[in-house]
């Protein structure tokens, strides 16, 4: 299936030979056939030719071209021809395809128009995403000049980069000095003069949600529905009311059922959407169009960056009203106001009318249900979502709250907050791969907050004082819970069950508790004494942990307890079945690590090959270096960027001297120790399923004394025999929500249930299991909130200076040098932990996304005021965030509108001592004096706000406000306008 098969012939790749440098024909007339024709016509004749053709602009408002031409022809003075390659949707491919494949046609169109008024300047406006795509066009221009034997070009060509599309559907003021067309329109002009038929069409990029993706041609005279069905079968998503999204939402929304209309610009415009769309997406019926509209309106507001205040205010009002509705702060009046705003946008010619008008028109019921605060089809609006880090943490630790406590110096409260969701703060502070940091909103700006080691720091401070604060224990219930295994899942389940008041006993087959933390993670990352200290903090609550006590049969074990939790773990290495894997010098990764951590004297090397690309492989490789290996080669199936191991760990391994071979799959291990690999072209197929493709011709051979396979782990399920507990592919099966197995009263979690994952995921599953075991023992339904992020505290944001908040960079973990850490038997801890100063600063980098939910209402209100003191930035977490805390320092007038619209109190005013402070999540962004009432002395407003009001009033009205009075004193004077006080004696 060729993507380009539905494209017109003139847009084939061959037309742009040598990136536009080679002319399509040897002579100028042959290369530019349209120009030859045009040159025989006067400007007015050219205009008439264009008008008779009915050619319309491709993209945007789809205005007939002759209107712009006529306006242009009437103008006087210097003129500019503009090729505007910007578009609302950065994923549109039309402009790129034209610039690449038809550069000669663009140039030809421009030259034809240049004859209208002898324009001397040509401007190419390029958006950021098309940077570099202009080369064929520039080549074509040069080639035309050399064909025409122009030595000194008269016309000046300017390329303007990083341009953004205009927020106007039609230019606000018709500008007769510029003739602006999209690259495609310029092409079609050239083709029109060359006599090519069938030009009444425009390129359209089909995006996700459509069965066929890529470029097609939208025929303007034909029916939209019929065309959609013709493009590879139409819309991918089901349902008669699938939502068609034009120009990434910025061009409006249309239900599939309303598409029985012609594609003429006027017909689409009367349907309320963009008259000449350039991209099309399909979304399922249940998508929240209100949310999509909000996003589109916010983008339109952004595009109006350089516009005048009233225009920005109108767009900001639209964005604010919609945001208030999505936040559940809307009323019926909001919809009426939005109808008015949509009308204003349309009459002013702003493109934002398309998304707002069309969604209000076709999805009225969604809007009304939002405005009545009833429901959102996606269920995402109308409720306050947790901070991204909080949501990303598999144990759902309330990260913003604990960071604030730690920043305030209260490490006991810090640990209390963390242990509401994770009983092992020290362990996670040392070994967690920190998915929270990947989700951190600050990550896209100047580096995520360094969350992980902050937990360890708080934990170490508490342990140095004699232990963690003890959680409140519920009264004893008399129920007994038996737990098999003492890994992170079991420890977590034990801790929470104990706090619920149950009697908990843990049985561990190994000599020490800790499971994978003790036997799977090398001591340079997880020192055993620290782990033991942390487990003691669970023991002191009365949890009995019996080590060296293997449970042989679940059936027998169950009888002694009211409920049982299985935290079996994955302590068995799964060796991939390749030739030679059974040889004695081939070890399993986890077996090797366990042997080392159990204190066995394991000697390897001098040459070791480690197979696998995960964090376990890295641990194996680094441990091998400490157990006698001189040369460690690590071979992963994935390319380095796709390796499951965290990048920091990989770097550490390379720094210690491990040789990395990414992209190779093992074939066989020979008796003499030679390991043969074949090149792996790709690991996953397009849908993301594991499906490696190899190139058997490209081989890698490595010599080894030991081969360690860290390619997978499995669970020892012997204990389940005869119990009726089901298993699937070697793991215990349990309900993911309740963690109950097929046998009532038997629960399972951790690696042995969900497969080998991280410690923090095991801790999360233990916590969920504890909640549902507790519910089961009490005979109630489990709390639905278990396993969801819950705010554990409401901590005031830390006071941070605006400059620090804007510019402080992420701390760098102090680590021992490689010389200090490498060496046989050297298991010294590599990370030294954050210093006090670093932890202090790091806590202050937190943006407090739990309080500031990034709705942007404050910014919209400020823009409506015309003050523009607030600027939030887009983030990958699809929420807005403040990174610039300095801007309000110059612009804020202290009116407080932002604080009134803020749904969470993240931005607020503080008045005191004659000063008003504007505070964003703890950071004072502006401090200004406060005026006082001349009569009563009460604080009134800031001088800047007073000036703002006075400037809006004519002088004679402002003169009435010379005395600064508070509203209550002003009213108490009982003046009458133009009368000036009542003569009471006369009235009575």
């Amino acid at each position: 299936m060729s993507e380009l098969q539905m494209l017109p012939r003139w847009l084939d790749a061959g037309a742009a030979a040598l990136a536009g440098a080679a002319p399509p024909a040897p002579t100028l007339d042959g290369a530019l056939p349209g120009l030859a024709r045009a040159q025989s016509l006067t400007p007015l004749q050219r205009l008439r030719h264009v008008q008779e053709s009915g050619l319309a602009e491709c993209g945007g408002a789809g205005e007939p071209i002759h209107i712009a031409w006529r306006r242009f022809l009437r103008g006087r003075g210097p003129s500019v021809l503009v090729i505007d390659a910007t578009g609302f949707d950065a994923r549109g491919r039309g402009a790129a395809a034209i610039l690449e494949n038809a550069p000669w046609r663009i140039a030809e169109g421009v030259v034809i128009a240049a004859g209208l008024r002898d324009s001397l300047k040509i401007e190419l406006r390029l958006p950021a995403e098309l940077t570099g795509r202009e080369a064929p066009f520039l080549n074509a221009v040069d080639a035309i000049r050399s064909l025409a034997q122009v030595a000194v070009p008269r016309r000046q060509l300017e390329v303007r980069r990083d341009c953004r599309p205009s927020c106007w559907a039609e230019g606000r003021l018709p500008d007769s000095s510029r003739l602006v067309h999209t690259p495609e329109t310029w092409c079609r002009i050239a083709l029109l003069f060359a006599g090519v038929p069938d030009l009444d069409a425009a390129l359209l990029t089909l995006r996700r949600g459509m069965k066929q993706r890529g470029l097609v041609e939208l025929r303007r005279r034909e029916n939209l529905r019929i065309q959609i069905d013709g493009w590879g079968g139409g819309v991918e998503v089901q349902g008669p009311n699938a939502v068609l999204v034009f120009d990434d939402g910025l061009g409006g929304f249309l239900p599939l059922s309303a598409t029985d209309l012609s594609c003429e610009p006027l017909s689409l415009a009367s349907a309320g959407i963009v008259p000449s769309p350039s991209t099309l997406m399909g979304m399922a019926e249940g998508v929240c169009v209100v949310k999509q509209t909000r996003r589109a309106l916010y983008r339109h507001w952004q595009l109006a960056d350089a516009e005048e205040a009233p225009v920005r205010a109108l767009l900001a009002r639209a964005a604010r009203l919609v945001a208030e509705i999505t936040l559940g702060r809307g009323e019926a009046a909001h919809l009426d106001a939005l109808d008015g705003v949509a009308e204003d946008l349309a009459t002013q010619g702003l493109a934002a009318a398309w998304p707002l008008g069309s969604s209000l028109r076709y999805y009225r019921d969604q809007w009304e249900r939002h405005a009545r605060r009833e429901s959102c089809p996606e269920g995402l609006c109308l409720e306050r979502s947790a901070a991204p880090c909080h949501r990303a943490c598999p144990a759902n630790i309330d990260i913003p709250s604990f960071l604030a406590y730690l920043g305030a110096g209260d490490h006991r409260a810090t640990i209390e907050v963390i242990r509401r969701d994770n009983p092992l703060p020290l362990t996670c502070g040392l070994v967690c791969p920190a998915p929270c940091e990947s989700a951190c909103v600050r990550g896209g700006n100047d580096g995520a907050v360094f969350i992980r080691p902050m937990k360890a720091r708080a934990a170490e401070l508490c342990l140095a004082e004699g232990g963690y604060p003890k959680p409140a224990l519920a009264p004893d219930t008399g129920k007994r819970v038996g737990i098999v295994g003492a890994g992170p899942a079991s420890l977590s389940a034990a801790y929470y069950l104990r706090t619920f008041g149950h009697d908990v006993e843990v049985f561990e087959a190994q000599e020490h508790a800790g499971g994978m933390l003790r036997y799977g993670i090398p001591a340079y990352r997880m020192p055993p004494d620290l782990l033991e200290q942390e487990i003691d903090q669970i023991r002191v609550l009365g949890v009995k942990i019996r080590t060296g006590a293997a449970v042989e049969s679940l059936e027998a074990f169950r009888t002694g307890y009211d409920a049982v939790f299985l935290g079996l773990g994955t302590q068995r290495a799964r060796l991939i079945q390749i030739e030679g894997v059974e040889q004695p010098f081939v070890l399993g990764g986890i077996d090797f690590l366990r042997a080392v951590r159990s204190g066995e004297r394991v000697r390897v090397g001098p040459r070791v090959v480690v197979i696998g690309g995960g964090n376990v492989s890295i641990d194996v490789a680094l441990t091998a270096l400490r157990q006698g290996a001189k040369q460690v080669d690590m071979v992963a199936l994935e390319k380095r960027r796709e390796m499951p191991a965290s990048p920091h760990e990989t770097e550490l391994a390379v720094a210690e001297g491990v040789v990395l071979h990414p992209g190779w799959g093992p074939v066989r291990i020979d008796e003499d120790g030679e390991v043969v690999f074949q090149y792996c072209e790709r690991v996953k197929d397009q849908t993301g399923k594991f499906d490696p493709k190899f190139d058997a011709g490209r081989l890698l051979k490595l010599e080894a004394d030991q081969v360690i396979l860290a390619t997978g782990q499995g669970t020892d399920l012997a204990i389940l025999e005869g119990s009726g507990v089901e298993n699937n592919r070697g793991f215990v099966v349990a309900d993911p929500r309740t963690k109950m197995t097929s046998v009532p009263g038997v629960f399972a979690g951790g690696d042995g249930q969900h497969g080998p994952r991280t410690a923090v995921e095991a801790i999360g599953s233990g916590k969920i299991a504890a909640a549902s075991i507790d519910a089961w023992l009490r005979g109630v339904t489990p709390d639905a909130a278990a396993g969801k992020p819950v705010r554990r505290a409401e901590v005031d944001p830390l006071p941070v200076l605006a400059g620090d908040r804007s510019h402080k960079r992420r701390a760098v973990m102090p680590e021992k040098s490689v010389e200090e850490t490498v060496g046989e038997g050297n298991y010294v801890r590599i990370e030294e932990g954050l210093t006090e100063a670093m932890a202090h600063d790091e806590a202050r980098r937190c943006l407090r996304c739990d309080i500031c939910i990034g709705c942007g209402l404050c910014m919209a209100a400020c823009s409506e005021m015309g003050v523009e003191a607030l600027r939030m930035a887009d983030t990958p977490a699809s929420r807005l965030a403040y990174f610039d805390f300095l801007r309000p320092g110059e612009l804020c007038i202290g009116c407080g509108a932002c604080t009134q619209v803020c749904p969470t109190g993240a931005i607020r005013l503080e008045d005191g001592n004659g000063v008003r402070r504007t505070i964003i999540t703890g950071t004072v962004v502006r401090e200004q004096p406060l005026l006082e009432c001349a009569d009563c002395g009460a604080p009134t407003q800031t001088p800047a706000h007073r000036e703002f009001v006075r400037r809006r009033l004519p002088d004679y009205m402002a003169a009435h406000l010379d005395r600064e009075l508070c509203p209550s004193c002003a009213r108490g004077r009982t003046d009458r306008p133009a009368v000036g006080g009542i003569d009471f004696a006369r009235v009575s």
Binding site: A337, A861, A897, Q900, V901, L961, L965, R971
Partner: protein
């Protein structure tokens, strides 16, 4: 000015504040904002007798309102058909510019909605053919409301009767 007028006859007013209470009840307001207010002071000496002075302070619905000029969002606006000045609450962002601009302190802050509220002559009631809440529930009937060109001023009427009943000496 608005086509309507809301008159207060001080002579009959006992400052019971029923007008204020019913105004707030009609607008569903908590303590704090008072779209209309009875301002009283005294007792002062009036022709040798102590008298409490009472003024009723609703909004005057100016011809060229300070508040509407100061409002940056257009929330504060003059209704075209009858000149009533009112706040469209969905457009109010709470900047309090109107409160700083009104020379008579009329726009009121409603902490419950975090928006401004003010006397709109009970537009909803007017449109339903009723009188403003304050007038409807005035205990002594000292408040009167109507189209300015049709409503006699009770004070003027009373003065006229006074002159007719007791012609000045020498007439």
């Amino acid at each position: 000015m608005s086509t309507y007028v809301l008159r207060h006859d001080e002579l009959n007013c006992i400052a019971c504040q029923a007008c204020e209470v019913h105004c707030k009840a009609n607008k569903n307001l908590g303590p704090g904002p008072a779209p209309c207010k009875i301002v009283s002071f005294g007792p002062v000496d009036v022709v040798g007798r102590p008298r409490l002075r009472i003024t009723f302070m609703p909004c005057f619905h100016c011809e060229e309102p300070w508040c509407a000029k100061a409002c940056p969002t257009g929330a504060m606006h003059v209704r075209e058909k009858d000149g009533i000045v009112s706040v469209e609450s969905s457009l109010c962002i709470g900047c309090k510019s109107c409160m700083g601009a009104c020379p008579w302190g009329t726009p009121q802050w409603d902490p419950a909605t975090r928006k401004v509220v003010k006397c709109d002559y009970c537009m909803d009631r007017l449109d339903a053919g009723l009188q403003p809440a304050c007038v409807t529930k005035c205990v002594t009937g000292c408040l009167s409301f109507g189209v300015a060109s049709e409503l006699p001023d009770p004070r003027r009427e009373r003065y006229a009767r006074l002159i007719l009943a007791e012609p000045p000496a020498g007439a």
